[in-house]
Each structure stands twice: as structure tokens, then as C-alpha cells.
Symmetry: C2
Subunit: 352 residues, 2 copies
């Protein structure tokens, strides 16, 4: 039996999104239990969740706002729903926590309460993006670390490999994001990371493909793409911006006049299939990797369907023992890992 | 009268693309002249271009291959069509040069022959990307500089402002690409760049908006977005990869079966309008900024329509005295510019 702790108050909407998502999740996973963390009054409107035998309410008296600073989240709101949810993981009452709240606060609290794993200097944020092969590419880091050393990138590669192989990918390939495929390309950090990754591959610690470029994320050239958090965040957001622009253009063109509106009706089944295929909600739920406990971040603007996916992702990770998998990978690669010091720039964690 | 020197041999295809593009360009610009640089035998099949009174063939006996190293391009092939085209600009025979050849070679040769402008440490590559406002966002650097200082980013901002204002944009806004809008976000280099840009704005050297995020490129939040070449290159290529994936999905869905194919016929005018709107060929032609002469880079895989756009862009830049505009901006901001040393890592210039 896997138990997931849910920050029911987090996100742009809060309980009106998180609780219907919990209901759908419980139907989908008959083996799952949920700890619903939040202000007790918030659950009144959702008796079907509140009274579900596989749910238990864990009260929390505060809520971290989307614009609260990390300092406020960490030092002032000690009874926030986010913190109480993560504390359930720390205390062993839950095997994973999920929140749609403020990314910076989530990372700071998770790191403060759970600590990083031995051999890991900095946690990273990993997510999946759809690719042209019909699968998904796992990308990390997405913004937790704006300045990275080569050793940090190696740690991300090990954590990404653990994440993908824990959920079914056999010997997943790792690509190092760069401005060209040749080994002489890139900054000094990237070139050094390439050498470390080659060493790790030779030692059997991971399956290194080599350098990849930005378009390889969506081509699906490798199962995993690693990069520093600045680059990953910009690539992710630029892609979101482009996808939004393109869907806006499609909508505009189909609603231009009566004829194009009729065309939209005829093309409706095709457009729906297309929309389903690129639906980013299916990929909601980024993993905070490298901590001594599983924490998943949902997009703040997630709807119930999207938040449900984040819950599923957290459940699957716990079910497949992601944490043990990461620990084993790190242990195996211990000979390559040199402590790099940790970053205290918590305010640098971006919104996702 | 503006004269543009064309490397007719460059690109994946060469004369079969560049010469039809020259023909179309000459019809569009009755005031333009072209210097057609290449192996004389290559022009035989295109008498209508070769014999045009506004064209003159400038022979070159060598061609730089797309996979030639910068060293080969610079030191071995001294009579390449690319080099001879740029030499026309140096010698004053042409006001701009255009090539679809190898980006690294083009940047290296342009820099070697033309030199950088006073006050500019490193040339940068600038291009336009379409935005949701129906206009275009100018982004630089796209890969010439993988490691940048804050001062380099300021130089990019000045050059970008000159580029956009030379071609009609009044007092264009500059955004600094970052992982969040708040001034405390980002690496030390980015934070320092933010301070320099604020100083420059106060001194009236440019119009600084503040930090922007990846999605702002496609939202069109600012006219110009500046970033280091690593980040810019990844963002550009990730966007290209996503756009290719999305158009592949649309094609797949519309060709799934007889019904969806009929829907495609009905939706054809809408799909064409959409396709035209996102047609990246319209934005072909990246400017190599910061040199003592105008050089434009076409995508290597450009077709004749796309290559023609690069020619138009080069013509417009020369016509609007882009070079003088850049010089004036740099001169005005001289008090803020401290030489930063130049990069010798020519092999780092990526393919575009």
C-alpha cells in the first residue's frame, strides 16, 4: 500500500482542483491511500473525497501563497499545508508528497526537511516533455541550479537515469545538452561534463549517448537530456511560449469567418486527436530529485486532470522504489562523485 | 544604389537555390545590384541571372563545405566563395554579404577580414523569431559566444537596439533573458548585466524593460531579447524541434484515414493560412553584429524563397545604414563599455 501526501491548498486554484483530482486518482489506483493536507474547512464541499476510507485529513493552518518569498515560506509559515505534506514523507507516514504550490518554496522546504542524498550536492527538477517518437524525453535540471559544475551535471545524469529506469526504461540513454554534437563544442563546464559522463559510461554507471542539441529534446534522440537549470528553464519556457503561440494561431485561423468555422467543425475529430497528442497536462508532475524522500511538483495552473497526472507520477515513483534506485545509482558511481558544495541561493528557484 | 555580395556556392544546395533567389530578389528591388561570387561554371544554367545587367560574377575557385573545420576554412581555402564575398564588403565593392555556408567558418572569416567595431569585444548572431503579437522578436546571441560576461550582454543589447531601430522600430525595448522576472533571479553574470542595462537605460543608451523568461520571446513582450550564445542556441533549436514535432503531428492526424484526409481538404485554406503564418522561412537571415561590415547568414537548408529573404534583410540593413547606427549607439554608450578581451574559441560557433 502506497500513501501519497497531497498539499490540497497549493496551486492557483487550491482544493477545487486538487480534491477532484484526488477523487479521480483514487478510482484509478485502488491500492493507493492519500493524506489530504490543508485547512479542515476546505474539505467540506468534497464529502466524497473527505469521507473516502482511503483518505485521511491532516490539518494545516497556513497556506503558502504563489508570491510568498522562500524566506516567508521557510521561516514564517511553519504550519503550511506544503510543509506539513512534506513532513509526512519525512516521518514515514507517506511515501511521496505532491504540491502545486510555489516552486521555490517547495524546493527550499523539501531540502530543509528531507536533506539531500549522500553523494548529491544539489537537488534538481526533472520533467518529461513529449517527443516526436511518441514517447517522452526526461529533462533535468529545469531551474533549481542556475550555475552548475561538471560534477553537478554528472549527478543529474545519474538521477535522471534512476528516474527513467525506475519507471520501466531499460538502460536509458543520456544526452548532454550543448550547442553542437562535436566533443569540442561548448563551454569548459560542458566539455568537462562530457569527459565525466564518458568515464561514468565506461564504468557502467549510465548509458551516455554524447552531446545533443535543443531540437533533440523533441526529436527524442535520447531518453534523458541534462543541462544546467538556467538553460533547462529557458528551453522549457520558450517551448511553452511557442506551443501557446501556435495553438493561438490555429484557433485564430479556424475562427476567422463562417467558412473557416465550418472547416473547424469538419476537422474537429482531427483537431481533437492532435490536441490530445500535444496535451501538456499529460506530462504534469516534475520530480524533485536528489532528496531523501519523494516530492513532486505540479504546475501551479494545473486543472484537475493535470493534477491527477502528478499524483499518478508520484504514486508510480514510490511504487517502483525510485528512491532506492537513485541511492543504488549514486552508490555505484561513488568513485566518480566529488562533493561540490551546495548552493544557498534558494531565491533562484524559478516558477514552473 | 546598394550592392550585395552573394556567396552563391554556400548552403546545402548551392547555386540551384541561391541563383533563383537572386533572380527573385532583383525583381523585388529594382535599385539593387549583386556580386555573384562562385565558380564561373556554376552560373551556366542560370543565364537570366548571369546576364542581368545588375549582376556581376566575381570568380572564386574554392567552396567551403558544411563540415569543413574553421581552421580549414580560414587557413586552407583562401579563395573560397565565402571569403571572396566577404572581401567585397571589406574592399567597399559591396555594402553587405550573404552566405548560407557553415556558420563557424562565416563568423571566423568575417571576423578575420572585417574586424570588430571599436567598443565591441565579440560579434554576436542576431535573428528574428515570430511572436504572438504578429510581429517578430529579435534575439541575440544565438551561438557565437558560449560564455559571456555582463559587459558582453550590454554590448549585445546595444547592437540589438541598433538593428531593430535601423529597420524601423522606434525606441525598441530590451529584455534580459532570465529564469524569473524578479531582479534577484539568475546567475551573477545576469544580475550584473541587469545593473549595467539599467545604467544604460538611465543614460538614454537603450530602452531596458527588465528580465524576461523563455516564453516572452514568443509572446513578444519586448522587441529584443538578449542572452548568451549557449542559452540562445538551445532556445532556438528547442523551438525548431518543437515546431517540427507539432507540424509532424498535424500532418499525421490529417493523413490517418480517408475521413481525416477529407477533413484536410475542407480545412486546406485554413491550414495554408496557418502554415504561412508560422513559416520560419520568412525569418531567414541572421545578422552577424559587431563587425566593421554587414554579413548575413542564411540557414544552410534554405530554399530559394528563404534565401531571398536573407538577401532582402541584408539589403534593408545596408539601405538603412545599420552599420552607422551600430557605431552611433556604441559611441553614445562608450562611457559604459570596458574592453573584455575577445574569444579565440572559434570552433565553438554552432551550426544554425
Amino acid at each position: 500500500m502506497i500513501t501519497v501526501a497531497v498539499d490540497c491548498m497549493g496551486g492557483d486554484v487550491g482544493p477545487a482542483v486538487t480534491l477532484p483530482a484526488c477523487e479521480a486518482f483514487l478510482s484509478r489506483y485502488p491500492q493507493a491511500q492519500l493524506l489530504l493536507v490543508g485547512m479542515p474547512a476546505a474539505f467540506g464541499a468534497w464529502p466524497q473525497v473527505k469521507n473516502n476510507v482511503r483518505c485521511r485529513i491532516v490539518p494545516a493552518s497556513e497556506v503558502i501563497a504563489m508570491d510568498d518569498t522562500v524566506e516567508v515560506a521557510l521561516r514564517k509559515k511553519k504550519d503550511s499545508s506544503m510543509r506539513v505534506a512534506i513532513a509526512q514523507v519525512k516521518d514515514g507516514a507517506a511515501q511521496a508528497a505532491v504540491s502545486a504550490g510555489n516552486t521555490g518554496a517547495l524546493m527550499a522546504i523539501a531540502r530543509y526537511l528531507l536533506k539531500t542524498l549522500d553523494g548529491i550536492d544539489r537537488p534538481a527538477i526533472a520533467t518529461q516533455l513529449p517527443n516526436a517518437k511518441g514517447g517522452a524525453t526526461t529533462v533535468l535540471d529545469l531551474g533549481a541550479n542556475v550555475d552548475c559544475t561538471a560534477e553537478h551535471l554528472l549527478q543529474f545524469a545519474l538521477m535522471g537515469s534512476a528516474l527513467v529506469s525506475a519507471t520501466g526504461g531499460k538502460n536509458p540513454t543520456v544526452g548532454l545538452l550543448n550547442v553542437g554534437e562535436e566533443v569540442i563544442k561548448g563551454s569548459e563546464v560542458i566539455k568537462k561534463a562530457g569527459l565525466l559522463l564518458r568515464d561514468a559510461a565506461e564504468a557502467g554507471d549510465l548509458n551516455f549517448y554524447g552531446n545533443v542539441e535543443g531540437d533533440d529534446i523533441f526529436k527524442g534522440t535520447t531518453d534523458i537530456v541534462i543541462c544546467d537549470g538556467f538553460v533547462g528553464n529557458v528551453a522549457l519556457k520558450a517551448s511553452e511560449g511557442l506551443a501557446t503561440m501556435i495553438s493561438g494561431f490555429i484557433r485564430d485561423e479556424f475562427s476567422r469567418n463562417i467558412l473557416t468555422k465550418l472547416a473547424a467543425i469538419v476537422a474537429y475529430p482531427v483537431l481533437s486527436a492532435f490536441k490530445k497528442r500535444v496535451d501538456h497536462r499529460r506530462y504534469n508532475g516534475a520530480a524533485l530529485m536528489g532528496l531523501r524522500g519523494l516530492v513532486f511538483k505540479s504546475h501551479g495552473s494545473a486543472d484537475a486532470f493535470a493534477f491527477e497526472q502528478a499524483l499518478c507520477r508520484a504514486y508510480d515513483a514510490a511504487h517502483h522504489n525510485l528512491l532506492g534506485n537513485v541511492r543504488d545509482r549514486i552508490e555505484h558511481a561513488r568513485h566518480l562523485l566529488v562533493p561540490q558544495g551546495s548552493s544557498s541561493e534558494l531565491h533562484n528557484v524559478p516558477t514552473l
